[in-house]
Symmetry: C2
């Protein structure tokens, strides 16, 4: 179908034989990369500007050979990669693309369909419905529950709060936010994506109130109630609450059931950000993390975080799809769709284009199966408990937050170290440990103190890697 024999010749695509040749080469490379990734430093040692300086300042005039391009990838790009696939990657929230997920992405790229409308590829819409219903069941949530895949939790939360505006029936859709003062509530530990969403939606940072947390970093429902009462007295309309199941800092779990009762009484939308921790509900003994969520209006869970699906893949669920559709649906002549009664997913969010993201989720759910997923999540939580016990029992380290999931928050705090010195020591410890190349941890602040975070989420991380991380921390701390 293509008469081009060299890259720049002809007007067609890459010839099929060349695609085959380099496709096979890349499969081998990725397999070897995943086997050997532990040999590379987990945190890239590139200095700012290194990669940019290594590359030409302009695109080539004539086409180049794939072999040359791949050699440049090895020499110039790989040194600038921080290896999220490394078993010592324990920063932020550790993730895994997983074999079946990578294969799903390959097929998605090969098909290159856009599921904006049902008819523009019916399988995109329907497989998204099917896989999200499978996931709903695994999470133990009652039907009916409308689901859609977005790129990230930030988009999911933006969409949820846009739906909340419609749900409140104050005609923001036509007239805009206007003079009315609206308020959204989240805890002091909630993710910054809530701030971004509220600001983007035109409510301003004043439109968000951060409710204080208890000693376990959970939103204080009593203080939420009094904040709402104060606002109402001041003429501010309470619009929505964002509860978090698994906060970014300490993976704390807000009291969703209590909060939902408040939202019901006040006629407010309840959105639950369970982007990291939601999938823990697949594990029977952790089902409780989503207790009360059946009464929420919307929920975000990210399969690209702790469900072994390559980024990006965030899932937004809602019990109020009509409000979501009211926020985003517009008539579009060019996309006229003759099929009656079908769902056109472009009507449920900002983005018109839609990748076939459910394919990788389908591959992962089928390949591992429910039991296989439970076994892996359990193993990650078991590894986290090893670190938690170590920090608790150590003289030099202390545990800084309860560990219910796969993330451990702790700090170096030997007897006799004053608070400002402890902060500096922890910052230095973090820097030195990360420079080892064997492990990558992140830091955060808990009650004003600099602490360290160790997050398990990579399928290549085993007990050996966790033990080595603790050893590195102890050895490095001794040298401080």
């Amino acid at each position: 179908m293509d008469d081009g024999t060299a890259p720049a010749r002809g007007t067609g695509d890459m010839p099929a034989e060349e695609f085959r040749r380099y496709g096979h080469i890349l499969v081998e490379r990725i397999a070897r990369y995943l086997e050997d990734v532990e040999r590379s430093p987990v945190l890239s040692r590139a200095q700012p500007g290194d990669i940019r300086a290594s590359l030409p300042r302009a695109a080539p005039r004539t086409g180049e050979d794939m072999a040359t391009i791949l050699a440049d990838f090895d020499d110039k790009i790989l040194p600038g990669i921080t290896h999220w696939n490394h078993p010592g990657f324990m920063a932020y929230f550790a993730i895994t693309g997983s074999g079946p997920g990578i294969l799903g992405e390959l097929l998605t790229a090969g098909l290159n369909v856009n599921g904006m409308l049902w008819r523009s590829s019916p399988a995109v819409t329907e497989l998204e419905e099917v896989t999200l219903d499978w996931l709903r069941q695994l999470l133990g949530l009652p039907e009916p529950l409308f689901g859609e895949i977005t790129d990230t939790a930030s988009s999911s939360t933006l969409y949820a709060l846009a739906a909340a505006r419609e749900f409140a029936a104050i005609d923001i859709h036509q007239r805009g936010v206007g003079a009315q003062r609206l308020r959204v509530y989240c805890s002091a530990e909630a993710h910054s994506s809530v701030d971004k969403a509220v600001i983007t939606l035109g409510l301003g940072s004043d439109g968000l109130r951060h409710v204080p947390v208890d000693e376990r970093f959970r939103m204080r429902a009593d203080l939420l109630e009094s904040a709402i009462a104060d606002d109402k007295a001041a003429g501010i309309r309470p619009l929505a609450v964002v509860a978090t199941v698994g906060t970014t800092g300490t993976t704390s779990i807000d009291p969703v059931a209590k909060i939902s009762a408040i939202c019901e009484r006040e006629g407010m939308w309840l959105h639950v950000d369970a982007s990291y921790a939601g999938v823990a509900a697949i594990v029977p003994e952790k089902r409780y993390v989503l207790a009360g969520v059946e009464r929420a209006h919307s929920l975000v869970v990210n399969p690209h975080k702790w469900l072994f699906v390559p980024i990006d893949c965030s899932v937004l669920y809602t019990r109020e799809p009509a409000a979501l559709k009211a926020a985003f649906a517009l008539p579009l002549e060019i996309l006229y769709t003759p099929e009656a009664g079908v769902t056109n997913l472009m009507d449920y969010g900002m983005s018109l284009g839609r990748r076939f993201r459910s394919l990788k989720l389908w591959f992962v759910l089928r390949y591992f199966g429910a039991d296989g997923i439970v076994a892996r999540l359990r193993e990650h939580m078991r590894l986290a408990q090893i670190v938690a016990r170590w920090a608790e029992e150590s003289d030099a380290f202390e545990l800084c937050a309860p560990v219910e999931l796969s993330t451990v928050v702790f700090r170096y705090n030997p007897p006799g170290l004053a608070p400002p010195e402890a902060d500096a020591a922890n910052a230095k410890l973090l820097k030195l440990v990360n420079e080892s190349g064997e492990v990558f941890l992140s830091g955060t602040r808990v009650r004003g103190s600099q602490v360290l975070r160790l997050a398990i989420g990579n399928l290549r991380t085993t007990e050996r890697h966790v033990l080595r991380a603790m050893e590195l921390l102890e050895q490095t701390a001794k040298g401080l």
Copy 2:
């Protein structure tokens, strides 16, 4: 590294040997698919619910074999695919994932890095800078120009208008939209993503004014001026204009230079939506499509539309990155980044997570080279001219809009057909032609009439396919 020998066993990833086996199988499958795609009907013949009904109602308890999963993909998913890779796909805007683009996606999935911060993979940030600077040069735009990759033009336009709010310095960031009345302007032919963005940002649909177009479907700059004057007299603050280079319906090009002069005088932000047509500026004789854009504040161009990059990949450029950052940057303790002076791309948009999307763009720009891209875009425009001349010369068909790019808007309108009958005949013709399985066109409305759209953008589409499309239209029309 993994002791699992069967999918559901162990706690690791898919074993390397299994990844290799199925990776190679998928490369073969995709190569064959791309060679043979013409044998499948372009528009899926699935009925609503078919795919859903063919799949189990719940995820499997135990893991399944990849061979079983791929067999199901063939039997149950493929029939629900509308083949955007088919050479007869001429609906919406036709696209091509292209061989190098697919290979780039495979590598991106294998690496599975998140470039939210510079340090979380320096190569993600820096290759994005480098490739977008290459693209800037190809488009003939002056530096400095900040660029970032987003998922779709809808997000890019949302970000641009969020930046416009900051640029206007009216403290929406903290205090929200409030009582002030703001207005955004676009043409009557602009894409619905502008409406979605304005509504999402809290300005309401009243916050957007659609300016009438001239006989070539271009925004009337004189009417824009008078609309702004009217609004100012009514106490409404003009905020931004969205000009379109290549509208969705007719690919018309707004007079950007004239509009930019108005924006400069009024202190308004000018955003240019060139998501489809912008890349045409890579072709020397089409450079003019971006004339005046050097004075715009922001621009969106989509490599996933007509630059052979798999979806999703949209590029947002801005001359005012400080305004974009002001709209989205927030302090984030957990993501504390010790490197001074680096760009953390999460500060320039809604999404925290960032796929390594520049890799596929880099592969495409290098593999085809500037000359190879020019040859392909030129060929698509040549094919469109064949259709345009046919429609002009035909007794039964008429051309409904000028053809400057790769999209032809026309309709069946033989002598003696009354307007209501013509609309019905065109709708029927579209339906019948699409049912052939050989071609997929879309429809739209031009000056109130039902018309057909034929868009060239797939690298597998050749003159033979275009001739066949015209033949099908003629034959089918005769049978009406």
